[in-house]
Every structure is written in structure tokens, then in C-alpha cells.
Symmetry: C2
Subunit: 299 residues, 2 copies
């Protein structure tokens, strides 16, 4: 049970966290903090937050838990504003999509209070944003990755894990570096590739003709190119080193495929396609089995 | 009204064509021809075809229309088998995903009968295959692209267009070269890119860890990597020149993006992402408007 949780950023991520904890009866009071008075008022109206924090010290007073769910680029500023008012019993976590940069920012901003910061990343989202996009089930059955620091006390990590578990999430732990390498490969690179393809087509002189014939395969492939450009600019920059590595690996892979195609090497092409198809089928089967298990476990 | 239609390949594409024409009451008899006796028997059982063609001459006798809906690599063999038995009043079409190579194969196989061949490509599909995957509505509201030849008589083109229109499709015309350039960009390249990404990840030593964290964005981006490796090997080879051009353009685009990322050029990255997002939103809006219009037109 949490007496008081302060949430910086009451949009999709922070708002859904609040709604889920409230439904679980796990929090007495949620205080919202943010740059937009309109978003805070809307979150209050929707019952996401109980109180609009008039100031950082007031929001932090006697809070058990602080969640930073603002755009990643603001994390350091928020942590620096928090530090002077951070009580010994308060645990701070975040929901940023990258972790090494957040940890570096937290070390700079929090200094000797770093032990109170447990970095996190819930793997859930929707295409909409803002308080109106928040839904109580956003995290149900989804992964919440924590990337604890050597300084974190076990009970601080447990406290953050408890909160996400109460939202229905399944807890995973990685180091910040592992986290960033993994998500560079399975999330950040695909976003870059999808944006690149749509931009490439949109810039061609016959773009209109091309889009006219694009069908459902193209629609799914490029769905992530509908995501927020600002958010993905920040993620790309924050995870630049790992993303460059993944991009270079992928470009080498394309160079090999180009060679097979140029040589009309049907056997080689089919081997690559078949390996990919098989790996994807195995992955889909494992996801479906996990979903089945989680449904059965929930009954 | 068609008296008799012969379909070579009674799977998803050919089977759905037959079902739609039957529902429209537009064909008296459908004869199926294929390499697999089991598929033909199943198509007969499902009411897709009325008769299993015992031989090519028998299947072709007095047919108004022949549809070749077998894998593209078989087109030339089938056309060569058809030629000696092709009556003057019969129009032949196909459903292949590439057109320049099909036209070249048709010219070789049909020689002076080429005027009777109207190349086509219905833009519709499902992940399943075979007669059991055939559905009556597969082509409803979808595009059917015809790529007529200079030799085709207008009435032959109209006959093929009529058949697809009776299936609910909307007729478009392109030259075979235009067709192949368009689909290299919006379909064949995305398939190659999706296969390449999944293969790249599957071959990494920590593939299992990576797949564990892949989420819905990855799932949609790679859906087309679940497609048939044999089919996409054939399409890639058949449309090799256009696909190599598109791949080279895309790799240049990635090189530019890499430069922006390496220079931490946030403004440049955001400009690419925003252009892509905007183009995709405009495209989705135009699709939805067209769907809306087609629903209203159908009422």
C-alpha cells in the first residue's frame, strides 16, 4: 500500500499507472506535477490524480514513491528540482525508453542521493497521448523492465517492482546497458527503418502513385512511422551508440542480401527468408504460449 | 456472363476468384487445373470448381477466360502447355505479383497468340494458402491492376476487367514496367527489409534475449517476414532490377540517417521522422476516405 505517489507527467504512461494503482486499491493519494496546467486539470477531472501539486516540495512531502513519466529529455531537470526536497523514505523511478542516459542524468542530478533512484521502463504504449489516452489496463500482462543500480537497496527495488506488479505488469531485470542494446535492436532500429522507408517514398517525384498502391503489408510495416517524431528523436539521440551499432549490423546484412539478389542467388535468398520466417513463427508461438499461460494463471 | 472459366491453380487467389464470380452468378462452369490432385479434389468438394480438368485441351475447350493463379515461376510452362489448344475466342490472364517477367515469359510461350494474354495482378492476399483459404470477399474493394499489352484488343482487356469488377475489385491500369517499379517500392522492398531484420536478429548470439523483449511494434513491422520464402524468392528474382534500384535508394537514405545520428543532429533526425509521420498520416487518411466512399457507394 502506498500512502502518497507523486507523478511527474500525467499523460498516457503516468496516467495509466495511477489508474491501475487506484483500481488495485493500492494508493491513498496521487499527486500530479507537470508543465501543462491544462493536462493536470484534465487528469484531475478524469480521476487520474487526486491533487494537482502546487509545487515540487509540496508534491514530494511524505511521498513513498515518485514516478517520472515525462519525455526523457526532461528527466535531468526534474530530478534536479526534486533533489533538495527528497526525503529519506521516498523512492524515485522513471518510465523512460532508454536507460544508460537516464542513469547518467540521475547521477548528475541526484549525486549522493542516487541510491533512491531505481530506473525502470514499462514496455507498453498506444498511439495516442495525454491524460485522455490513459487506460487502467495498459500494463496488464506487459513487461516492466527495471535496471537497478548497485547503490539501490533491495527494498527500494522491491517497492518499485510492487507498484508495477500491482498494475498487472511482469517484472524483468536487466542492466541499463543490456536494456539499451536490447531495445536498440528490437524497437529503436525498426522505428528508424520505418521512418526511413516512408520518408524515402514521400520524397520521390512519383510518391502519390506509389502510395496509391501501398497495401496492408506496407501499412503494418510502417505503423511505427506514425509515432511522435520528437519522442523518437530523443530516444535515437539518447541511445545513439547502441543504435549506431545495430544500424551498422543491419546495413551489412542488407549488403549481403544485395549481393545474393545481384547474383540471382535464389538458394541464398530463400535461405535468408526461410530462416527469418522460421524465427518469427517460433517467436509468435512463444508469445502466444505466454499469453495463454498468463490468461490461465489469471483465472 | 462467362460460359466457362478455366483456372490454373485453385488456391487462395484462383479459388477466391471462382467463389466471387459464382456468387455474382457470372459464370456457368469453372474448371480447375493444377499439379496437386488433392488440392483439386478439395476445391471441388468446397464448391470452388465444378469440374476437375482431366487435361489441358479439355479444360480449354470453349473457355471464355483462363486465369493462371499458380506460382509465378510456373507461368511460362503453363502458357506453353496452353498455346496449342488456345481457341481464338479465349482470353488468358494471370494474377502474378510481377509483370515484366510474366510478359516476357508470355511472349516466349505464346508467340503470335500474345494478343490473347492480358496480364493482371489483384492486390489482395491472406497469410493462409490453398483452397481452404479461398474466400468470396477477398477482392471486395481491393485494386486489380491490369497491365495491357499493345497487342491486346480493347474487348479482351474489357473482358478481364469485367471479371475482376464482378469480384468487387476496382480496376487500375499501369504498364508492366510501371507496375514493377511501384511494387518494388511499396511491397517487395518492405518484404526484403523485414526478412533481413528478423534474420539479422535470429543470427545474433543473444537472439533469445532480444526476441523476449520484442513487442507489438516489432510484431507489426515484421509481419510480412512470416510470408512464404519460396514465393518471395521468386518475386525478388522476377523483379530483380527494380528491387535492386529501390534497395540502393533505401541504403543511401539509411547512410544519410546514419550521418545525422552520428552527428547527434536532432533537428535533422526530427525533420526526417516528421516528414515520414506526416506522409503516413496523409496516406492513412486517403485510404480511410476511399474506404468510406466505397462503403457509401455500395449501399
Amino acid at each position: 500500500m502506498f500512502k502518497k505517489i507523486a507523478i511527474f507527467g500525467v499523460g498516457l504512461i503516468g496516467g495509466s499507472f495511477a489508474l491501475a494503482l487506484k483500481r488495485a486499491g493500492a494508493v491513498r493519494q496521487v499527486v500530479g506535477v507537470g508543465r501543462s496546467a491544462a493536462s493536470l486539470a484534465r487528469a484531475h477531472q478524469l480521476g487520474i490524480i487526486d491533487v494537482i501539486g502546487a509545487s515540487v516540495p509540496e508534491a514530494l512531502r511524505d511521498a513513498d514513491l515518485v514516478l517520472i513519466a515525462a519525455p526523457v529529455a526532461q528527466t535531468e531537470t526534474i530530478l534536479a528540482a526534486i533533489k533538495p526536497h527528497l526525503q529519506a523514505g521516498t523512492v524515485v523511478t522513471d518510465a523512460g525508453s532508454t536507460k544508460s542516459d537516464v542513469v547518467a542524468a540521475a547521477r548528475r542530478a541526484l549525486g549522493d542521493r542516487i541510491a533512491q533512484f531505481v530506473p525502470g521502463h514499462p514496455i507498453a504504449g498506444r498511439e495516442q497521448n495525454g491524460p485522455d489516452a490513459a487506460i487502467v489496463d495498459l500494463y496488464a500482462g506487459k513487461k516492466a523492465v527495471l535496471t537497478p543500480l548497485p547503490e539501490n537497496a533491495p527494498h527500494a527495488v522491491a517497492r518499485v517492482a510492487d507498484a508495477w506488479r500491482l498494475c498487472g505488469a511482469i517484472i524483468h531485470q536487466l542492466t541499463p546497458q543490456e536494456h539499451d542494446r536490447v531495445f536498440a535492436a528490437v524497437s529503436h532500429l525498426p522505428h528508424l527503418l520505418a521512418y526511413a522507408l516512408v520518408d524515402d517514398i514521400a520524397n520521390k517525384p512519383h510518391a502519390e502513385l506509389l502510395f496509391q498502391y501501398a497495401a496492408s503489408g506496407f501499412r503494418d510495416f510502417t505503423r511505427i512511422a506514425g509515432s511522435s517524431p520528437e519522442m523518437w528523436r530523443d530516444i535515437s539521440l539518447a541511445n545513439r551508440a547502441a543504435l549506431l551499432d545495430e544500424l551498422d549490423g543491419y546495413v551489412s546484412q542488407l549488403a549481403q542480401l544485395r549481393g545474393l539478389l545481384a547474383n540471382a542467388d535464389g538458394v541464398g535468398l530463400e535461405a535468408v527468408f526461410a530462416n527469418a520466417q522460421q524465427a518469427r513463427h517460433a517467436w509468435i508461438r512463444s508469445i502466444e504460449a505466454a499469453e495463454q499461460q498468463s490468461r490461465e494463471g489469471g483465472d
